[in-house]
């Protein structure tokens, strides 16, 4: 009889740990999304007039943070899914880890494409000398990305990085992530199509808090032409909101 109680107690402990691990992975996934979006904003400014050494340093830092999250998350997801321990509550328990798995792989793929673009762009627009600034494209952006840096700094990795893995440089980072992706896909066979979205289509439109000046479309359209003599030169189709 004590065996029965023991096994039940053990099972409940396992459940609790599993749930905690899942919650941790979810937080990590959110953090990864945040970091990669910031990284994308930085990459978009490469080669433009907003490009600067500050931006490049920010990129390196952001990349390092992303790297830490990626490695930790991949390790945890692997342990969650490749464990042969039969989930106590049956099949339903596998769904959540699988969902996180698919989301993580998609995020890593997305991040990888941004990394590759960054690699190409840095190669195309090196900022090693002052004269290089001549070749930057005048896109109209002048921001120094300070806000972005602050945002990245606020991201918290949900686990302590006891092992300080030195963050790799760009080319190595790409190689590491590619290896990680292929390894994960080989180790655990997860059927991508079995995962379903948890929210219906068009739902995100209702979520975001209202921004007072979100109608950027109107901003982009309505303008005062600088040259008063040619106001009528605009064809009638433009300047319509």
């Amino acid at each position: 009889m004590s065996d029965d109680i023991m096994s039940r107690w053990r099972r409940s402990v396992e459940e609790v740990t599993a749930r905690r691990q899942l919650a941790e992975c979810e937080r990590a996934q959110n953090a990864l999304s945040r970091v990669t979006s910031c990284f994308q904003q930085l990459v978009m400014s490469l080669g433009s007039s907003a490009d600067s050494s500050f931006l490049r340093e920010e990129m390196v830092e952001t990349r390092a943070l992303a790297h830490r999250i990626c490695t930790g998350l991949s390790r945890r997801l692997l342990s969650l899914l490749s464990d042969s321990n039969p989930a106590p509550s049956g099949v339903a328990d596998k769904q959540e880890p699988e969902r996180l798995w698919v989301l993580f792989l998609s995020a890593v793929e997305n991040f990888l494409s941004d990394l590759r673009k960054a690699n190409d762009l840095i190669g195309q627009f090196p900022l090693t000398q002052r004269s290089n600034r001549h070749s930057l494209v005048n896109t109209g952006c002048m921001d120094g990305m300070v806000g972005m840096a602050a945002r990245v700094a606020l991201v918290q990795v949900p686990w302590l990085t006891l092992e300080e893995v030195p963050s790799p440089d760009l080319a190595n980072h790409i190689a590491v992530l590619e290896a990680m992706l292929s390894e994960m896909q080989l180790r655990v066979p997860v059927a991508f199509w079995s995962v379903e979205a948890t929210q219906p289509a068009w739902a995100e439109a209702l979520g975001e808090p209202d921004d007072p000046d979100t109608n950027l479309e109107n901003l982009m359209q309505a303008e005062v032409t600088f040259n008063s003599t040619n106001v009528s030169a605009c064809c009638g189709l433009s300047c319509v909101g």
Partner: protein
């Protein structure tokens, strides 16, 4: 970047954009981006580049806006080209996404006025190594959804729903990423946010164009290998080079004067017909978005255009490859009673290009209709070709009829084609051909046309229509009952006689103007009836018993029974059907005639209705037992021969028309 290399580059670019080029946005997708980038970077130069000015918005000012006219002037100046060409070049830059318009963002052209443009950030430049991912587009749409609270444009909504369906497994990631990107973008200063949103929107207008936008990104499928990448020098690579050079050595040679002469002749002939080099009447649909040209040149049109008819005179190949031309030629051949040549040729084409599953059937079909002794539409090919073909038919494959087809093709080309060009049919077509007036659209009309663009008829529907037409044509096809002329004294040119089985009232195909039924010669069948032979008299006696069988076996050719021609034909069939009849060489012919006339002519490919008639054909199972050197004799002598021969054989049951490749014991299921 050195000035020297840039000058070289500009010369190269000028060479690329020829003086007469229209705004063709699909050129040089692989090479152009690299060179465009170099030009773009030059345009940035604060001293020698394009004049840039600030764009004043309600709340802020954004620098680095450039006007269309400044761009055009700068390009014309820098590349030493005229204004029209500079405009094309500029439009190409916009269409590819290197520069985007700030007003009227969906029209990717350079307007040579004060409309504003801005340079796109390099992240959004179109480059081959960065594929445009649907995931990114989904994230963009989700972001837009968040910002516009669900008020997306129709095509965006469609795309959203499609992506939501196909990317459902990562949709949570997409939404999460969209939210994060949205929040991240808010961290930037206001003017930069505006710029960034414009950039992103411009990028997706280029790569997922809204309906009505000309897209420069349609380059088709990705190639398996990148043509600009260096190829590794493996042994395989050298082997390919060796094979290539060996084949090059083995190729037949022609004197350069001859080949150049041929090229010159070709160019001179076709220059008026090339839409790139001459005007397209009424107007080129790709340029003016007006589809009249295509409608006038459809394959089943009643009156072709003058240009099209002129093309038919260039070569026989042109005539045959144009479906309307082929129809005209078919009409002419029908009048000349040599339609079987073209029908055979078409059958061979069908065999060559058809599906592998139906090949054997088709080959059989063609053999029975055109090549067999006593075939209803027998074609006249020389003995050697016939021998080769027969041998090949033992193991039929796709190209087994190639030799015969070539022979017939050359026959038609050398003989009928010339006569066709002088014939009244052709002259009539030429007279009726139309020459449409040239369209002269002004800019407003052009925009109207662009807005009214609609997708054309689906190719599935077109194919169905084609098949229906073919079926109809096959059902009405003439049967050159050449063999029945044996009832009369043999005539030198057998193909003169061809009876049209169905009465003219059954001709329902509207687009192919068939001639009204004019009996050029008295129906050979009626002629046959008159000259009663020994066999006929004997068969008449057994007419009664064979009657029911025939009725059952001849498929519903209701209209056939009404005509006198058909009546006589049925009598012939009855004769052949009764088992006790002497299966004179007469019988197989008429049976195959009936059989194939009840079948759809070989032109149609995989009609399901082919199956039942084929069974019917097998009912008329007659053993062909004529010695190979048999020619078409007057019936009397042969009948007696046949009779004697067969009487000694067991005639119970039915035998089959033996195709050379089928074994004698093969049962086709109909017993």
């Amino acid at each position: 970047m050195q000035a020297a290399s840039l000058n070289l580059l500009s010369k190269h670019l000028v060479g690329m954009v020829t003086p007469t080029s229209r705004p063709l946005l699909l050129l040089h997708i692989f090479i152009f981006p690299f060179q465009a980038e170099m030009i773009l970077l030059e345009m940035q130069d604060p001293n020698t580049g394009v004049r840039s000015q600030p764009q004043r918005l309600v709340i802020t000012t954004i620098p680095h806006a450039i006007t269309g006219e400044d761009i055009v002037t700068w390009l014309a100046d820098r590349l030493q080209i005229d204004v029209q060409e500079a405009r094309s070049f500029g439009s190409m830059l916009v269409a590819l996404g290197y520069i985007y318009p700030l007003q009227d963002h969906k029209r990717l052209v350079i307007k040579p006025d004060t409309s504003l443009y801005r340079f796109q950030t390099p992240y959004f430049w179109p480059t081959q190594q960065w594929p445009v991912e649907d995931t990114d587009y989904a994230i963009y749409l989700a972001k837009r959804n968040i910002r516009k609270k669900g008020l997306l444009e129709l095509y965006e909504q469609e795309q959203y729903n499609r992506l939501h369906k196909w990317m459902n497994h990562k949709w949570d990631f997409i939404v999460m990423q969209a939210k994060e990107q949205y929040r991240a973008a808010k961290e930037r200063k206001k003017p930069d946010r505006v710029v960034f949103d414009c950039q992103e929107r411009a990028y997706w207008v280029v790569h997922r164009p809204p309906p009505g936008t000309v897209s420069a990104m349609d380059y088709g499928l990705d190639r398996r290998t990148d043509p600009n990448a260096d190829e590794t020098q493996t042994s395989d690579y050298y082997e390919r080079i060796m094979i290539f050079t060996q084949q090059a050595i083995m190729r037949p040679r022609v004197k350069s004067s001859v080949s150049i002469g041929a090229l010159v002749k070709h160019c001179a002939t076709y220059i008026g017909h090339d839409p790139f080099l001459s005007a397209c009447l009424p107007s080129n649909p790709w340029l003016t978005d007006d589809t009249t040209y295509w409608n006038l040149n459809m394959s089943n049109v009643e009156t072709p255009t003058k240009m099209r008819v002129e093309r038919w005179t260039f070569s026989f190949k042109e005539l045959l490859s144009d479906p309307r031309g082929r129809d005209d030629f078919r009409l002419f051949l029908k009048k000349e009673f040599s339609g079987e040549n073209l029908a055979f040729w078409e059958g061979c084409e069908d065999l060559k290009w058809g599906t592998a599953a139906t090949m054997k059937e088709k080959a059989e079909q063609i053999y029975k209709t055109f090549l067999a002794r006593g075939a209803p539409r027998w074609i006249n090919i020389d003995g050697k070709t016939m021998e080769v073909t027969m041998k090949g038919l033992k193991h039929p494959h796709r190209y087994v009829l190639d030799a015969a087809q070539t022979h017939i093709y050359m026959l038609m080309k050398k003989d009928s084609y010339g006569r066709y060009l002088k014939s009244p049919v052709f002259k009539d077509t030429v007279k009726k051909a139309i020459r449409p007036e040239e369209h002269k659209f002004n800019d407003a009309q052009l925009e109207q046309n662009a807005r009214n663009r609609r997708p054309s008829l689906s190719p599935i529907i077109l194919r169905q229509q084609e098949q229906e037409l073919r079926a109809k044509m096959a059902a009405n096809a003439p049967v050159d009952i050449t063999q029945l002329c044996r009832f009369t004294t043999p005539v030198p040119h057998f193909s003169v006689y061809s009876g049209i089985i169905d009465p003219p009232s059954s001709n329902t195909s509207p687009s192919l103007p068939f001639l009204p039924h004019t009996p050029i010669c008295p129906s050979p069948i009626s002629v046959a009836l008159d000259s009663t032979s020994a066999s006929e008299r004997r068969l008449e006696a057994s007419e009664g018993e064979g009657e029911q069988n025939t009725e059952a076996r001849v498929p519903d050719r209701g209209n056939v029974s009404k005509s006198r021609v058909a009546l006589s034909l049925r009598r012939l069939l009855k004769r052949g059907c009764s088992p006790s009849a002497m299966f004179a060489s007469l019988s197989p012919k008429c049976h195959t005639a009936a059989a194939t006339s009840s079948r759809i002519q070989p032109i149609t490919p995989d009609e399901p209705s082919q199956a039942p008639p084929r069974r019917t054909g097998n009912f008329f199972q007659i053993k062909v037992d004529i010695p190979p050197e048999c020619r078409i004799y007057p019936i009397e002598s042969e009948d007696e021969e046949e009779e004697n021969r067969l009487a000694s054989e067991e005639v119970v049951g039915t035998e089959e028309i033996i195709c050379p490749w089928e074994s004698l014991t093969q049962q086709n299921g109909t017993g």
